[in-house]
Symmetry: C2
Subunit: 313 residues, 2 copies
Amino acid sequence: MKRSICQGGWFLFVAIGLAVMSVVTGHGADSATPKSPTMADLLKASKPGDWRQLDPENTLYMDLTAGRVIIELAPTFAPKHVANVKALAREHYYDGLAILRAQENYVVQWGDPEAEKPALARKIKTARPTLAPEFDRTWEDSLGFTRLPDGDVYAPEVGFASGFPIARDPKAGRTWLIHTYGMVGAGRDVALDSGGGAELYVCIGQAPRNLDRNVTLLGRVIQGMELLTTLPRGTAAMGFYERPEQRVPIKSLRVVADVPVAERIPLELLRTDTVLFQQLVESRRNRRDEWYHVPAGRIDISAVPLPVRPVGK
Amino acid sequence: MKRSICQGGWFLFVAIGLAVMSVVTGHGADSATPKSPTMADLLKASKPGDWRQLDPENTLYMDLTAGRVIIELAPTFAPKHVANVKALAREHYYDGLAILRAQENYVVQWGDPEAEKPALARKIKTARPTLAPEFDRTWEDSLGFTRLPDGDVYAPEVGFASGFPIARDPKAGRTWLIHTYGMVGAGRDVALDSGGGAELYVCIGQAPRNLDRNVTLLGRVIQGMELLTTLPRGTAAMGFYERPEQRVPIKSLRVVADVPVAERIPLELLRTDTVLFQQLVESRRNRRDEWYHVPAGRIDISAVPLPVRPVGK
């Protein structure tokens, strides 16, 4: 038999057309007892109400030559940045720009290669070139909070709200999106109000949690991460590509609501405010698959899978 | 000015020939005050005694068509597995085998594609096909321990010993290597003693800490990670490549002591048992670079950089 590491902890990016369950059925999944369901068992038993469909008005398609990257926006946490990124997309600001940077175990970033040359830089029409930061926001109970039980190195409390990984400081009454794998943010310069969405980045390695509350996060890649993580790393400082021909062109970046229905990819995401999701977290804290010798008994927020699948699968 | 995310938290994989400091001098590094040195400042001020040279007897070169991956072995924590991997390398077991699996945000794994077909599988001569696990070991004070101050979601204590990330349970008197980015382990099947090093994996994404104490770790990639992380992801279950031609051939995997001196790449690593290293951890807990608005004040073990550079640079 093949020596392997058991099935991945990550389920995030299910290829369309691939039966969703196949990704999580590796060694031992069949041997789980009814009393300790695996993630595969739980998803198999899920009801339609355990899932939520993507909102076309808050989803982006970034089309590269190699394929499509799908980003869910987080207007609850960064309303002005989300509105601005959509405005930029709708004025075709990003179309024809490029991925400029791929830094090992850190970020992939795209924008206008000529941003530093005003004469050549792309003009922004109706959108805002920069915005005040949205690093955190006021906590409100209406946000909902599925808190993780095992604490966090960086924040007083962590968990999920509206399907996004968040931290919460109950004393300060503040909450913020956190930098985990696949999270998307608005690059900025030294000035806190120098971002706004004209340059965007995605976390491609170990969660860079030191960036939390230092830069505005506004969404999360829910499909197509492998198109970004496998890009050649840039060899200039901070992983920027040295030569223009190394940059990766962006064919288009569109709000899904503007894409003809026939061209859309209908996806649904597991809700994070359900009993089923809590069971899934518990099942990942204590892996009972036959392969496991010692269940961790704990889980870091960056290790919690957020399942995505084609609608109705 | 270019909107960016400040310089990466990762310094691990310094290209040979690249001035080591260039990697960490991005925005704001120049503005650090003398009272709060950046990592670049600290490395610039380091003394020769702050570094240790790789031991050729405990370093591997894995040569791919695309370049060289360098692995430091950890005989202190997995003595039998390290000895067996070296024995396998010395009987040329790995030469001509292939990378078989690349799973998004999880692992890259290599071994014998025909391992499941006894008639075709490569014969192991002097080495052992399998070994008893070395998931953890007895704690001894002689191991040394640079403990991190901010705790850990998974283990009672975490820090560094012999340059490797470890966990420690003082009550149980046990210690173990942990799964962070770049760590190398011996794949196994369901049976705990089915590993041994004939199939090896590297962690390429968010630290899969749920694997700790479930599989034997035996080393860490210290250069060439980008050759593994940028590989196309496999589309079969668990990220295995579906077709033989998708596999990535291994030209050779050698113990550096067996490589002619002229062909070696002399590297040194920052020691983790020094005052300088503690200062580096502190500097990464509280980033004072001009770009940072809120220093995290804390650090996860998976985010601590372990600098590597050409000898004498």
